[in-house]
Symmetry: C2
Subunit: 91 residues, 2 copies
């Protein structure tokens, strides 16, 4: 099992991503990075908070990084989109 796992948060229900994160942590990953862009950023924070508060009190946030990505829209325009990476580690 990879030491570090990644969960990409999109537009599905938040519990999908909570389950994915719990699965990674229970299958041996010592660190899980929750990644999201744009409007999904709020959901990524929800995922981290629900995993910590409701399921795994021994998991802590070790780092949070925000950044900007340049994406090409369907019309070919360059659009800036914010990104977040929330690092969860088992203590």
């Amino acid at each position: 099992m990879a030491e570090e796992a990644v969960v990409f948060v999109g537009s599905k229900p938040v519990m999908n991503y909570v389950l994915a994160t719990l699965t990674q942590l229970n299958e041996g990953a010592s660190k899980v990075v929750i990644k999201a862009r744009g409007k999904a950023i709020s959901r990524a924070v929800d995922v981290a908070e629900i995993v910590k508060n409701r399921f795994m009190p021994n998991v802590k946030v070790s780092d949070i990084r925000i950044d900007t990505e340049e994406l090409e829209s369907e019309q070919g325009r360059i659009v800036n989109v914010s990104t977040i990476e929330i690092e969860l580690v088992k203590e």
Copy 2:
């Protein structure tokens, strides 16, 4: 001028909050904390990124904190809402 200022991000256009943050930084605040809850969290990240990348390259993110607040809904139910605090400092 207070050393530390706070900008609460809600549902207005993102540039409203970018302007508020720039104003605080230009009027002497050495640190601005951008705060948001729920769906406005994505917008708070946008605000921090736009301030840093487009207007004030000498401003850095010094800390990011996420947490959960318990709010009472209109029906009197207790609802958990995620929160974020993004700390910007002038270098």
